[in-house]
């Protein structure tokens, strides 16, 4: 079946749901590249009006990618909970937007198993930034491993101490800098420069030693490929969280070298280690709009709808952390600060609505039309939206991945501006160690020599 709407005397036709969603999407370069974007502003608003009139239950009868062709579609529809969906089953997408703007946290939480990613993506397309912020701020999601993330009034940071050659002392120095500036409660997570098993194990051992010597109530992660983490676990390495980049179609996941069954195997292996102390959420996923098109596995869908589908993959594995690397993938997908800002808030909203502990890598590359001012704006908006965590990189400059993320200072700014605290276990540790007072004192509260820096 098709959809139609008239605007300005022209009747616009949309042959199927995926086309309707794509044409209704606010402008971004990746959808233009894919050839799925609306050609005019009026076509876009016609699609948005047609989408607003669409019954929400239609999403249960028309898949954007066929059930038979894609294991992510099968996951989405097989897991759908009709009872949880009941409170909104009578609504259109437009009515659902109104419902969301007035919903209390309890109702939003109860709805999660009844929502498909396409419903979340669909409604986001007719929401302004303030809507995305306001609703996300009422989505409460907590996750636990060695501390508790996502509680109201909290803002966590992933300490990202990357080194261009995986030099353990370079990594250790960046970790210490971050800890002294209050970063690291979400995770201390290193992206290895090369996906080498030996290096991964040595980095895992380093992170575990740092955590142990300072007795930090947090978790560590080396963001290697899931198959590398599996081998590392086989060899007895101290793996807290298993990392993997994921996407919203079977094809993009194949391009990342993963399947749902491989992710399940990795989760089971990490659970069997039993390393969590206050919880068992042991997966860490990264996503980002544009990865499916990059892998030529988007099936004619817009990039934001595919991105939301990645969250269905993520929530199958009870992750401790999920984040969209929103500005990382480049200007061919999100051209400038305006597009990055909107996408970051969409991703955070959709992830939270679907029940994920959602962080955002507020970031940009040097070939995008964006700068620090754009990042300050997105960071502040995400803070108001209750983002679970953001990245902490020394001076906002990742010397290995060659892009700009948020800094430890940015974390301090956002916590101060919005009155947010770190995760409670980490906050107590900081107080115990006298971290806040460290700035002006001659002595450091965490001795560099303890982690081999001398």
């Amino acid at each position: 079946m098709g959809f139609a709407h008239a605007v300005g005397g022209t009747r616009y036709l949309f042959p199927d749901l995926r086309t309707l969603l794509a044409r209704a999407t606010p402008l971004r370069s990746g959808d233009v590249l894919a050839g799925v974007a609306a050609e005019t502003a009026q076509e876009r608003v016609a699609a948005q009006r047609a989408l607003a009139d669409l019954p929400l239950r239609h999403f249960l009868s028309e898949a954007v990618i066929p059930y038979e062709a894609d294991e992510v579609t099968r996951l989405i529809l097989d897991r759908h909970d009709a009872a949880a969906f009941a409170p909104v089953a009578h609504l259109t997408v437009g009515g659902f937007r109104d419902w969301l703007l007035a919903a209390e946290p309890e109702a939003l939480a109860a709805l999660r198993p009844g929502l498909t990613p396409e419903m979340a993506a669909g409604v986001s397309k007719i929401m302004r930034l303030q809507d995305l912020v306001a609703v996300a701020a009422r989505c409460r999601v907590t996750s636990r491993f060695r501390n508790t993330l996502g509680l109201p009034g909290r803002l966590s940071l992933r300490l990202q101490p990357n080194d261009p050659v995986d030099d353990p002392r370079g990594v250790a120095a960046a970790i210490l800098d971050g800890l002294l500036l209050g970063s690291g409660d979400a995770v201390i997570g290193v992206n290895p420069a090369t996906d080498n098993l030996d290096t991964t194990i040595r980095l895992l051992e380093l992170l575990d030693a740092v955590r142990d010597r300072y007795a930090i109530p947090t978790q560590s992660c080396v963001l290697a490929h899931v198959t590398t983490s599996l081998l590392a676990m086989e060899r007895g390495a101290p793996v807290d969280l298993v990392f993997q980049s994921i996407g919203g179609t079977e094809g993009v996941n194949r391009s990342f070298g993963v399947t749902l069954s491989l992710l399940r195997e990795a989760q089971e292996a990490a659970l069997a280690l039993g390393r969590g102390t206050v919880g068992t959420d042991c997966m860490y996923f990264e996503t980002g709009q544009g990865s499916a098109l990059s892998a030529e596995a988007h099936h004619g869908c817009d990039q934001q709808t595919i991105e939301a589908r990645a969250y269905a993959v993520a929530r199958e594995f009870a992750p401790l952390l999920v984040n969209s690397v929103v500005g990382f993938i480049g200007p061919e997908y999100l051209f400038d600060g305006k597009q990055i800002t909107r996408a970051g808030l969409e991703d955070h909203f959709c992830g939270k609505l679907l029940g994920l502990p959602m962080g955002v890598d507020v970031c940009y590359t040097n070939h995008a039309e964006a700068d620090q001012d754009d990042m300050d704006a997105l960071l502040t908006l995400l803070g108001v939206a209750g983002v679970t965590y953001v990245m902490g990189v020394p001076g906002a400059d990742d010397v290995m991945l060659a892009y700009q993320s948020t800094s430890f200072h940015d974390g301090l700014y956002l916590r101060a501006a919005l009155g947010r605290k770190p995760a409670p276990e980490f906050e107590a540790w900081m107080e115990r160690m006298g971290i806040e007072a460290a700035s002006g004192a001659g002595q450091l509260p965490l001795a560099p020599a303890l982690i081999g820096l001398q």
Binding site: P164, A193, D397
Partner: protein, 243 residues
């Protein structure tokens, strides 16, 4: 505010922006402007171009020049698909090199590191590969090129394996970083999961000599396994990492 001495000493261990101090919760002015200057340098690096004559002279090997279908830098940035396709007129100029090891030198997102890094890496790698019994194809120099352009070039030449040396996206600390992507059996449609990558080849990062050693190791392992990509784990003993 003065940064305590033991904190400042962390700078000895890393090129990352550690021990910057604080002005309230923010960056002190000098650190802020250092960042702005580095960003300006990186923005300009994105628009740098390869000096092909100088590159060919530095290589000292037979080379063929080709271009992708991206007409200019803006087109290159907005249309990566065009950067992965060979300009039709250039296809006929690629000589057959059946079963050979092929180097493709590509500008990528910054030509600065390619200009000096690629000749140094190739000079270090070619003797090692030849000693391992591999024939070396004429080097291809590709403009406005993405990694996957190497698949189409390698397929057209019949190469057994392609190593694409390409300028990585410039960062604030490094605008001269070179990446190497190794693909066995190059042909159109290969995915990134079918490649192995060696990144951060630059002064202060991985040296050309060390990258050549790693390339030799990966090449041997790939030929033995019959695959590159996630199936091929880089298990080269690292040796350089401290406990």
């Amino acid at each position: 505010m003065t940064v305590p001495t033991p904190w400042v000493e962390l700078r000895r261990f890393t090129a990352a922006r550690v021990a910057l101090g604080r002005a309230g919760h923010g960056l002190p002015t000098a650190a802020h402007l250092d960042f702005q200057e580095a960003h300006a340098r990186a923005r300009d690096a994105v628009h740098s171009t390869l000096d092909l004559d100088a590159l060919e002279a530095a290589l000292g090997l037979p080379a063929i020049r080709v271009a992708s279908q991206a007409a200019d830098r803006r087109g290159y940035l907005l249309r990566p698909d065009l950067g992965r396709r060979l300009h039709e007129a250039d296809r006929a100029r690629l000589p057959p090199a059946p079963g050979a090891f092929l180097f493709v030198v590509a500008d990528g997102l910054s030509a600065i590191g390619v200009q000096s890094g690629a000749p140094a890496l190739i000079a270090a790698a070619v003797p090692l590969l030849r000693r391992a019994g591999l024939a070396i194809a004429p080097v291809v120099l590709a403009s406005q090129a993405r990694v996957a352009l190497g698949d189409e070039i390698g397929e057209a030449m019949g190469a057994a394996m392609v190593a694409v040396l390409i300028g990585e996206r410039p960062g604030l600390s490094a605008t001269d970083s070179l990446g190497l992507y190794l693909t066995l059996g190059p042909r159109r449609g290969r995915t990134d999961a079918e490649r192995n990558c060696i990144s951060n080849i630059r002064p202060g990062g991985l040296s050309p000599a060390a990258a050549a050693e790693k390339l030799l190791w990966l090449t041997g392992a790939a030929l033995q396994l019959g695959a590159t990509g996630v199936a091929l784990k880089d298990e080269q003993p690292s040796g350089t990492l401290l406990p």
